[in-house]
């Protein structure tokens, strides 16, 4: 569904991504793991058009999308739930969600029934239903994360890009976020997940890519990566030593 071929990108003078190729098949969850500065967020930003790739191809359902503006890419069906949530702080929860559907209303994809989808999203995230009239800026960090994810779902997208959904959340909420990801997967949603909790990400994912210094060093089925000694040493080790 989403294919990246030999992508190169960076910021100003700093070249971050070196010939990245990856594939997110329909209905699957693919995770991108790697240490800080490896280029995970940069990959996400390049896909959703927030930075322009300097070389390479990105295609959605076979159509090239690289070089297009972010708003066009959203209209084509890629929803980005960004690192750090970025909800519209001075708007209500409901308005945030309706805005999530905005690219549907102006794009060429089927418009669907926004109010029905709104109800569905609220069902998926009951906490948001409780707080539907509240301003997004007054939500706690965990609720804002759910709102960012729900807003992405509202696009009715072909692919959701989830960037660090568990960052800065209490352990109990991290669990909840991963439950929601699992549920979205059950419903057939295609997702590309960037996550520092590599172990949790590999648990929920079908396939994984390991990004090292802007290059993909290892990739394979998630189950296989989980047992790869190199991956364990570099990305899984050191976590969960508390018990």
């Amino acid at each position: 569904m989403l294919k990246i071929h030999q992508l190169e990108a960076g910021y100003g003078k700093v070249h971050v991504l070196h010939s990245i190729s990856l594939h997110v098949p329909k209905g699957q969850v693919v995770t991108l793991i790697g240490s800080n500065g490896a280029g995970k967020t940069t990959t996400m930003r390049a896909i959703s058009g927030m930075i322009k790739p300097s070389a390479g191809e990105i295609t959605l359902n076979g159509h090239p999308i690289h070089g297009k503006e972010s708003n066009q890419i959203a209209k084509l069906g890629i929803a980005h739930s960004p690192e750090g949530r970025r909800v519209f702080a001075t708007m209500s929860v409901t308005d945030n969600l309706i805005l999530g559907a905005f690219p549907r209303l102006t794009g060429s994809r089927p418009k669907g029934d926004v109010s029905a989808d709104l109800e569905k999203a609220m069902e998926l995230f009951p906490r948001l239903k409780e707080r539907r009239q509240q301003l997004a800026g007054t939500l706690s960090g965990g609720e804002q994360q759910m709102l960012a994810m729900a807003r992405a779902v509202m696009l009715n997208p072909d692919v959701i890009l989830l960037d660090e959904p568990s960052m800065g959340l209490a352990p109990i909420l991290v669990e909840e976020v991963f439950k929601i990801i699992a549920r979205l997967k059950q419903e057939g949603m295609t997702m590309l997940l960037v996550e520092q909790f590599a172990a949790a990400a590999l648990n929920v994912a079908d396939y994984g890519y390991v990004l090292e210094n802007g290059r993909i060093s290892v990739h394979g089925p998630a189950q296989q990566l989980k047992t790869d000694p190199a991956v364990i040493a570099a990305y899984l080790g050191g976590g969960g030593t508390s018990h």
């Binding site: 960076g10 910021y11 100003g12 003078k13 700093v14 070249h15 971050v16 793991i33 790697g34 240490s35 800080n36 500065g37 490896a38 967020t41 690192e83 750090g84 939500l139 706690s140 960090g141 965990g142 609720e143 660090e164 568990s166 960052m167 800065g168 959340l169 209490a170 352990p171 109990i172 909420l173 991290v174 669990e175 991963f178 520092q196 909790f197 590599a198 172990a199 949790a200 648990n203 210094n213 802007g214 570099a234 990305y235 899984l236 080790g237 050191g238 976590g239 969960g240 030593t241 508390s242 018990h243």
Partner: protein
């Protein structure tokens, strides 16, 4: 260093050329034009401090310019004072008005500040007009060229005097902006909250910037009075203030060459538009240059056809139009407006910014960040202990714990109320010296609010907070920071447009004692301070493993490294108490291991730490005591193991099983 030497030798060459102009072109008209450019440049150096560095808007600089001119005029008329007396007095009087202009900037910003400063400028103009007993009102004041050593200066000699003063002003501004003062100005723009928490008082340095800026405007104003030999209130109007702002934007912010180019544009452009022959020539040249530039750009793939079509067609059309025109008078203002629109739209970094960007395009796109990254990462992962080798111990030179386990900070019944919401409700917190004290709790439970209360960003609605036995309630953030509490921020608050090294140097601001004149004169005491601060900053960067990236802009760093930089910057304050707000957020397991080692190292050097964190392996691994907040109240406190077993904590925060455990 080479860049610096390069630009100063360029400046010297241009300055010498300017000095030689009267010898080459004896026409007094042109000499006077260049003189005006130089006088405006002095003012623009000052305006750039406010606009480019501190990021404020000022539409009051024409007013300040007028105050400088009229101080000179009144002194000359009423007291027949000498130039030696008039120039310093103009600077001083205008600087005082600069402080007044700064007052609104402390409360408002953006368009509001623009309006307030605009009102200031208008009031000044009206006052000059109305205070006839002092200023002669609309009649204006006549001034003779200054007398130096008994001789009245000729036009040409006065020109050279302006040259000398411009040179001095350039050196002064350049040195001040490269010093800790300039860094303080820039830090205000990058993040006011972080500046305050680094002991750089936003209040103080905003006023400071306006005062220095106004002093330069006053100097320029008094020179202008001598240059024109006649001043009247109408000169210092709204149009002039907008021109000054435009010059800063068009020339390029944060550069001295930009100020000079900007001054040249605002002085020359109206003249250029007076003469149709000259205008035709310039319009055709611009069209050719832009067309050639576009072709080269397209060939080398710097740009796309879509991006260059409008400028190319626009300049060609302007050139064609210039040959159609019979006379300029009707079209002057429209063309002037169009050119401004064009520059502001296409050259947002100004002309100097645009040229330096072109220069960078030619360079090989190096991957300094990645290369050093990999070296760093591999060495750190392989030898986590050597990464924090012995030689770095001295980097964190905290005041050693004189009385271990004495109480460093105590908060009693702290209440923080926002409207009806009690973000912190009757919380007691006692932090023992030398400990790592964890603060955990669900999102929105009041942890970050607590940090903000402790660092003076919020003043608690009720309760007592004592640090080293002294109350911190009601003291300013910068004051608290200087007394020994440093912090990092949950949502990283770096000075993004400053280099990694400069960020740490802002943290070291407290180590500078040199006043303005020592900085301007490069007094040995100042140079020594700067050298020591640089060495210390490099040590701190080495401590967190960022030394190789010291020249990179802070916002180019990946997230995890930004967090480490915040820690280095906080350590620069030599704190006794360090508040870390979610330092591990966004870090992967190996990075977290490294972070734990850093935190331990910091504690071992005698710094007490309060740690907010959601990664339980970090909290449970290194904290001596853990306090748990929920809905603004403390629900548990004790040793990590005790807290972890607490039913209330499990229900509110930890959940049935910790995530890390579940996935393994």
């Amino acid at each position: 260093m080479t860049m610096r030497a390069h630009s100063s030798s360029w400046a010297a060459v241009v300055w010498v050329l300017a000095v030689l102009i009267p010898l080459a072109i004896p026409n007094p008209y042109y000499i006077h034009l260049v003189e005006t450019i130089m006088i405006y440049s002095i003012l623009l150096f000052g305006l750039d401090i406010v606009v480019g560095y501190t990021g404020q808007v000022s539409l009051g600089h024409a007013g300040l310019f007028g105050i400088g001119a009229y101080t000179a005029g009144v002194m000359f008329m009423k007291l027949s004072a000498s130039v030696w007396f008039i120039l310093p007095t103009s600077i001083a009087v205008t600087a005082v008005f600069g402080a007044i202009l700064a007052l609104p900037a402390l409360r408002v910003s953006g368009p509001y500040l623009a309006m307030v400063t605009l009102a200031f400028g208008t009031i000044i103009q009206i006052l000059i007009n109305e205070m006839t007993f002092l200023t002669e009102g609309p009649l204006g004041i006549k001034i003779a060229k200054p007398v130096l050593w008994g001789e009245k200066l000729t036009e040409r000699e006065f020109y050279w005097l302006v040259c000398v003063i411009l040179g001095l002003a350039l050196i002064f501004v350049h040195r001040v902006l490269r010093s800790h003062l300039g860094r303080a100005f820039e830090a205000l723009k990058g993040s006011p909250i972080a500046s305050d928490c680094m002991g750089v008082s936003v209040y103080r340095y905003k006023v400071y910037a306006f005062v220095v800026s106004a002093g330069l405007a006053g100097l320029a104003g008094s020179l202008y009075a001598y240059s024109e030999q006649y001043i009247s209130p109408n000169t210092y109007n709204f149009e002039l203030t907008v021109l000054f702002l435009l010059a800063t934007i068009m020339g390029g912010r944060k550069t001295r060459s930009g100020a000079i180019i900007g001054a040249t544009i605002i002085v020359m452009l109206p003249k250029l538009l007076d003469d149709i022959e000259l205008f035709r020539w310039v319009a055709s040249t611009a069209a050719v240059v832009i067309a050639v530039g576009a072709v080269i750009g397209l060939q080398k793939k710097f740009t796309t056809p879509k991006a260059v079509i409008i400028p190319v067609v626009g300049t060609l059309a302007l050139a064609a139009f210039s040959y159609q025109l019979k006379n300029m008078t009707d079209w002057r203002l429209s063309i002037f407006g169009l050119m401004i629109l064009f520059v502001v739209y296409y050259l947002q970094d100004g002309i100097v910014g645009f040229i330096s960007k072109l220069g960078h395009l030619g360079e090989v796109e190096s991957t300094s960040l990645r290369e050093t990254d990999s070296v760093q990462a591999s060495s750190d992962v392989a030898h986590p202990s050597t990464a924090l080798g012995q030689n770095r111990n001295h980097a964190v030179s905290a005041v050693s714990a004189t009385v271990p386990h004495s109480i460093i900070l105590s908060a009693q019944s702290v209440l923080m109320q926002f409207g009806g919401l009690k973000a912190i409700n009757d919380v007691n917190l006692v932090i023992k010296r030398g400990e790592i004290h964890g603060l955990i709790g669900p999102n929105g439970s009041g942890k970050s609010t607590m940090m903000n209360v402790l660092t003076g960003i919020y003043i608690p609605s009720a309760g007592q907070i004592e640090f080293n036995g002294q109350s911190v309630v009601g003291r300013s953030s910068s004051d608290i920071a200087l007394s020994g509490i440093a912090r990092t921020f949950q949502n990283v608050q770096l000075f993004g447009d400053m280099s990694v090294l400069q960020n740490v140097l802002v943290g070291l601001h407290h180590s500078f004692e040199s006043p303005l004149w020592n900085v301007a004169l490069h007094a040995p005491s100042y140079l020594k301070e700067e050298m020591q601060a640089n060495a210390r900053a490099h040590d701190l960067l080495e401590f967190v493993g960022l030394d190789a990236l010291s020249n990179e802009l802070a916002h180019n760093l990946p997230y995890g490294k930004q967090r480490l930089l915040e820690i280095a910057r906080a350590l620069a304050l030599n704190p006794q108490l360090l508040l870390l707000d979610e330092p591990a957020a966004g870090l992967t397991a190996p990075d977290i291991k490294e972070l734990i080692a850093y935190i331990r190292k910091i504690r071992d050097s005698g710094v007490t730490i309060i740690l907010i964190e959601h990664h339980m392996d970090v909290v449970m691994g290194i904290c001596d005591t853990v306090s748990v907040l929920d809905f603004g109240q403390k629900i548990a406190e004790g040793k990590p193991a005790e807290v972890q077993a607490n039913e209330k904590v499990i229900t509110a925060y930890l959940g049935g099983s910790s995530t890390t455990e579940k996935v393994q």
